[in-house]
């Protein structure tokens, strides 16, 4: 059993995803052995890769197929008096 170098309380050993870590029962500080930080970092990056993709942005209308270069967040552009007027002009010209 090791003692916490900071508050001298007892440290307990835990296993987190195959990595042994010691945590102080007093101040909750954590002691990592050589290589354990790297192991945790590696586990973290694996977890991030496996995480499901973020849900798509909400759409104002049932999704219609769009090209790869389409405007992001279809559905957000259509309001506004100025835009209506300007868009109206564009609809009628070559």
């Amino acid at each position: 059993m090791i003692q916490c170098p900071k508050c001298h309380a007892q440290m307990h050993t835990y296993n987190r995803n195959g990595v042994q870590i010691e945590q102080c029962s007093g101040c909750r500080g954590i002691f990592l052995d050589y290589g354990e930080l790297e192991s945790l970092t590696r586990l973290e990056s694996q977890w991030a890769q496996q995480a499901p993709p973020a849900p798509p942005a909400p759409q104002a209308y049932p999704a219609a197929p769009a090209p790869a270069w389409g405007a992001p967040h279809q559905g957000g552009h259509y309001g506004g008096h100025h835009r209506q007027k300007s868009f109206g002009r564009m609809l009628f010209s070559s």
Binding site: A64, W69, G75, H77, L91, F92
Partner: protein
Amino acid sequence: MTTTPVVRALGDLAHGSAHPATTACSCPPPQVLADRNDGTVVRSGPVVAKAHAADSDTRALMARLSLAASPPLAGILLPPLPAPDVPPAGAGDRTVSLWPYGRPVDPSDPDAAPWEEAAVLLARLHRTPPPRPLPPMRGPVKAARAVARMCRAVPGGPCTAPVLAAWRGLPGWARAENPVPPHRDGYLCHGDLHLGQLVRHPAPQGPWLLIDMDDAGLGDPAWDLARPAAWYAAGLLPPGIWLRFLDAYRAAGGPAVRADGDPWPELDVVARALTVQTAALALAKSAAEERSPDEVEQLMIDACVRIASLPPELVSEPPS
């Protein structure tokens, strides 16, 4: 208001065609509906006179105008009135045609525009076996002209870089440099569809018809869907309106896109071309008026930025 000789000549011609000279006249003064390089249009009561573009290829223009009088296209295109016996002197050597007045789409209410009717008219046009000989549809030529106009108006301007990059990424056929691929070619196309190209005739409550065949001809019918597609892709046209238009076109058997599923394999190139054309004209016009592009124009330029930065594997048809 200042009038030009051609406007006066068209007004006189339209008025002279509206009723016999012997009838008492309470007609309002002729109304200029358009006065641009590519067409001057003047209305007097039930008659509209049009002077076509000065640089038109006359033979090609006559072939295009004859489409409007062609019986298989009745109910799709507004039929012309008999051409004037003697071309009005004030029109110079521009070809002049006469048309019945039709009621246009209300520009102040784009949401009420006849999207489904436009789609059905296009589907019927595209399904009509084209009379031959007929020149090519002028869509790609107009896109190339718009880019050239931008380059003259804003020579070397940094704002033109993404538009030019998007333009260079298009296949040669969409830039009027190569023939249209055979499997997409040979359909009867309008060539310049927008909401100003629809009227109700007889006015005010008759059926909707297409007008202005000056750019019509043989080509890829997807070009006629490309403007709405480009507006939708740029985030301007709400998806609901786009889907109404697309679904009506498909339901009417339009051949430009596959019957079901994702239509973008057919639309991608043409919608990119119209995005470039619209952005190029926006930059040319805003430069001429010494202003910045407005919010809507900027969205089309932004779309060019996204097109220009596309990884090649996301482009459905690479440049040629």
